[in-house]
Symmetry: D3
Subunit: 273 residues, 6 copies
Amino acid sequence: MKPTVYMEEMDAFTYRDKLAGDSVFFIPVGALEQHGSHMAMCVDAALTKTMAGETAKALEAATGGKVNGIVTAPINYGFRSQQRSGGGFHLTGTTSLRGTTLIALAHDIALSLMRQGARKIVLMNGHYENYQFAFEGMQLALEDARAEGINDAKIQLLSYWDFVDDATIEQLYPDGFTGWDLEHAGVMETSLMLLFFPELVDMDRMDPELYTGLPATLPNYDVLPIIPSYTPPSGCLSHPGESSREKGVILRDTAVANMVEAIKREFAWSYIR
Amino acid sequence: MKPTVYMEEMDAFTYRDKLAGDSVFFIPVGALEQHGSHMAMCVDAALTKTMAGETAKALEAATGGKVNGIVTAPINYGFRSQQRSGGGFHLTGTTSLRGTTLIALAHDIALSLMRQGARKIVLMNGHYENYQFAFEGMQLALEDARAEGINDAKIQLLSYWDFVDDATIEQLYPDGFTGWDLEHAGVMETSLMLLFFPELVDMDRMDPELYTGLPATLPNYDVLPIIPSYTPPSGCLSHPGESSREKGVILRDTAVANMVEAIKREFAWSYIR
Amino acid sequence: MKPTVYMEEMDAFTYRDKLAGDSVFFIPVGALEQHGSHMAMCVDAALTKTMAGETAKALEAATGGKVNGIVTAPINYGFRSQQRSGGGFHLTGTTSLRGTTLIALAHDIALSLMRQGARKIVLMNGHYENYQFAFEGMQLALEDARAEGINDAKIQLLSYWDFVDDATIEQLYPDGFTGWDLEHAGVMETSLMLLFFPELVDMDRMDPELYTGLPATLPNYDVLPIIPSYTPPSGCLSHPGESSREKGVILRDTAVANMVEAIKREFAWSYIR
Amino acid sequence: MKPTVYMEEMDAFTYRDKLAGDSVFFIPVGALEQHGSHMAMCVDAALTKTMAGETAKALEAATGGKVNGIVTAPINYGFRSQQRSGGGFHLTGTTSLRGTTLIALAHDIALSLMRQGARKIVLMNGHYENYQFAFEGMQLALEDARAEGINDAKIQLLSYWDFVDDATIEQLYPDGFTGWDLEHAGVMETSLMLLFFPELVDMDRMDPELYTGLPATLPNYDVLPIIPSYTPPSGCLSHPGESSREKGVILRDTAVANMVEAIKREFAWSYIR
Amino acid sequence: MKPTVYMEEMDAFTYRDKLAGDSVFFIPVGALEQHGSHMAMCVDAALTKTMAGETAKALEAATGGKVNGIVTAPINYGFRSQQRSGGGFHLTGTTSLRGTTLIALAHDIALSLMRQGARKIVLMNGHYENYQFAFEGMQLALEDARAEGINDAKIQLLSYWDFVDDATIEQLYPDGFTGWDLEHAGVMETSLMLLFFPELVDMDRMDPELYTGLPATLPNYDVLPIIPSYTPPSGCLSHPGESSREKGVILRDTAVANMVEAIKREFAWSYIR
Amino acid sequence: MKPTVYMEEMDAFTYRDKLAGDSVFFIPVGALEQHGSHMAMCVDAALTKTMAGETAKALEAATGGKVNGIVTAPINYGFRSQQRSGGGFHLTGTTSLRGTTLIALAHDIALSLMRQGARKIVLMNGHYENYQFAFEGMQLALEDARAEGINDAKIQLLSYWDFVDDATIEQLYPDGFTGWDLEHAGVMETSLMLLFFPELVDMDRMDPELYTGLPATLPNYDVLPIIPSYTPPSGCLSHPGESSREKGVILRDTAVANMVEAIKREFAWSYIR
């Protein structure tokens, strides 16, 4: 078996060796959700797992291998997609969890890791709607851990796109940036998919009749039951046409570098170079 | 994007086309669990997803393409590993869900699929301990679906190893078979991994000092808190030494063929050949 | 008893008369949370209830009294205050609910109203952290309502500050606006309190030694357990010094007018002028 | 800001000063419930909050200011009104929580207060049906607090009407007292509302055709679904006609004095006069 | 097998025959709780099951056998014993359920019975503290039943002691009656045990040193954590010394007759004599 | 009161004396479930309680009375009967709990016992479908107990039939044994009922038209909703015709002796003879 940052691909003994050293755990939280006709539905789970993997490797490199990065199995279902950030949970293909389920799932995974010895955890979110539920799950896990006498665990919670800085945004979106909410199936996600999973993207499947009304103009509120006509017909919220593998490289490099900095700041080891 | 049975790799529009036809959904339920030093920890999730995929493809073939097989994203965490079937949830690496969380997760996924139009669902289990919780989740999903007016959904629940027939068992275990419980990290799982994920198996990592006391002799009861000494030092419950890719082929072929028959019996289409 | 839009102040028979006509219900969701030394801790609950009341009255006026606005008793506790939007739930005075509790509370209130006959509901949020949990509660209430045969209910979910338009923001924040997140105990909330509850504000209680480091510069992630030093000593996230009753009037007028428009759009009655 | 016993009206710094001293917290638990045509629906929440406030002030006075009384934001929704004590949860206007929601809500508030430092808590109930659920919430909060190392908290649970003594009852109900159950919207609640919130009472709105069949003669059991004809048409369970502000004064004075005595007994400070 | 009213002692086919006719179901809800040194701990469960059985038989007799009385298996654990009605849940022997567990248990049993065809259900309570939780469970069961299309079920909820009328009380308690709350392990329960389960009572085991301070004088509030000294040393709340089998007969006869009348009133069949 | 191992029949003071010594607690978990036309529906609860009682007595005898066996009140409702082990929860008479309810019930009982001082607990299962939920309940109880500082409790979980050894099986089933799953209402349960509760068995009520298709041939999977035709018409899964009191004696003696050995192994006292 090859060296890997992915816990799923490690055997338990190798994993235990890593855990005996200094380790940072990454819990990727994604979704199974429609992303238009040009991309597969795993985008949120696949990208988050991969970005976590890239960040884990970069962290290992930045510490000369003194810190192990370990990416757990992803949470591959997410909270109900909302119309203003994912098109809506009424769309066929989008497969949703209740909020309480996501809270419980995040709670259990983090607590189980802490019971094994994990003390430095990064929850990386890749589906906008998940964040509050994942946050609550992490807090409940910490409360349980403390009741068991684990008092030194620390959890950092972030969404990877928040680490794309303004300069990069300006560079990648020369015609103006409409916000991360509307990036659902847009240039950021598509470019990263072109970089990591080109076989799951088909840039030719952007039928102009479908890929219209983009970026979406959505109200500044939600309505339930969802009003389907508010979502553009493609299910994308901004147009992915200007996506490219090159932009994916830039996005990855920027976000990963900034995430490594943020992780270093919170889990500061003296030997970090 | 290539044709696929995996929902995660489909775009939403292709998925909707499939759903408009006759489709059988497979929900794989696995675990993230130690499997000795010779295999990665994803075994239960990876094998179940793959066996579901193989069964989905075989079902499509058996119906001349008139039925679509769709494998959803796997549940990649499972219920607490028990000592008599998985070595125990105290073992580092084994990452466990509470029973209520697994019930909720299975419930939500099945209900969300039924709301999208799924009416024929196969829940495929690959981690012994999950079964009762997954069963309860399916029943709750059906009750909710009925309250929403969905009265024609049907769910088949199975564990893939139950479809390895006695003749095959005799052939593969010439020295006697000790039961599926003890097959944790044994010949069946290892052979299937050698077939599907050879890069996640290392047959040389079966240190005799570790791979001792196999097959495990475990009491006919459980104890909590777990008594670590009851579990063999490798974490395996039977010896995987006689595993081979060839046995993996036989196991896959037998189980898949028998599962296709069982699925046909329950979801009988006139045009099945 | 005087005419009122507040359900708490109506007798049941008057309420039933209103319900027999065309009515829009407002559910205010607030918090009990520290807001610096210059304001009382009820800000989120009190402002949201009052903004809902003002919107209810404006809606009645806009329809010539043909539509009744009814403001329910507020949810006066909120989800755990987060450091980036409320200073953090570690701060003494901030009294927090678990996510599951807030989901259940919002769920029960909306379902109970629908069982009484409410069909047009506006959930008005006034504590940033609540939104996702309130959203989930509303969806669960709708699912239950449908199972009981109530198929014509509609719920609009909004945060009142989202209805302050860009022109107003520019006018009120001449030195630049740092985002609604950082408005915790800042100019918006303080100005509205000066308008509605001047007795609960004391502009002289902004000790410069305490009211420093504003606007707060917070990381683009969360950490648990909370790191107290990240929160400015006052607990405010931006400086309220430039607040005034006049700004409160502008904020109220703008937000209320825009909310009335949004409510009209979603619950469009022919007789609306 | 004026001195106050109401936590909602305190700023966080003043509150922290109080908490640094000896403080008794009051959690008022009410309801939003029909109370006939002569009173507003907030009766249970408003009276309980006010009685808690009066008791807090009396406690401060009785200790020469050495003890701070702090009244938290009320729980302003209650458990399903029952026919024998509130007319029934089928009545329009009565807005009800599930039992599990009320348990969770009481649990969270008490736990959050204890985490802030509260050690002396009085849960004051004002809606008969709430009591058992509030009791359970308090016990769960204490269990969680103990798991966090908080071992010195104490909670007193009471309903304010239980502190009206027999002599007062005889004085106020010269024609005989039918029990607190039937006091729903009767003389006690109406007299206290006339004292504290006269603008929310209208003694002229007791239409004799409606205010008939009082005191209600209800069976010694409950029926579900509720049988509406068992509830008198007004929704009151006894006739409020003999209510007066003066009786309100007597009720308040008696109950508050007796509650102060009970609180002193349980939280006995040497400096209490 | 002999004819019986106890569902536990019926075979399924006999039960189905009964269910095909007109049947009233009784769900006894008890507790496992200390009852002094003179009685076994099953009192609440055993008496309630037996009183339900006696009532079922009396109902069959009163209808000339046209109505079947069916007593389900009892709920033999109850909610936490409270100090004012059961001595307190701190007492060794008293084995308690959380409120949410009791709600769920009552909910499931009633729903399962309704799914089988039960439409007339009497929930008979025998442990004071249970009532509100059992009530909530019944309401949730009815809501679920309705969502499944069961609209004609009716549930009567009662505590058997409420059917001992005033004349009987006067006769049995010549020295004055202190209320059902304090009857915990007192004359009523002991007399009924002497009638039904004399082998589980020992009237000689009332050590005067232990059976002192009776009837208990308890405060008009609860305290948590419980203050053990408030409970009399025996754990009884009133003295059982005057108990007798004869009083048991009177209690049974009165309560059963009155319950039969109440059940007839609610489930009125034309052929009841 | 006579000496007894049944907690329900002990008074609290006798119970406390036992608890002061060395005690093993037995929690029987059964069901209320159809068992054909020849047996009452209490089989699972009644047999498990009795087998626990027999084991408790045998344990007391084996230790010369130095260890007390205490059997708690049984859980007399179980998880939904499954078609492959109990005929299915669709069968009238079978009264089922949700999984979450059974988890909570087992959790509460075990935790309450541990809070009273119990440290050695045997959960004895008598309804196949319960096991996983009871296991989860025990684990949750232990986690809560540890958070309260109880670190020395131990729980053994077993199903009594697993202690019937192979030699006995061969003796009792000369024509071959089809597995414990199919023993639902078969020779084992019927023979034990003939031994312990002969009045609840009627060997003449095995109508050949009904008692056909036995042993049942069931698929190696479950289907939901249940397909009634898969269950034999009697509801039994194997034929009970060869049952006898004598076989009951053998089954009891074997299982009890083996359980005592297993309990001794786990709770090894030096004075065990």
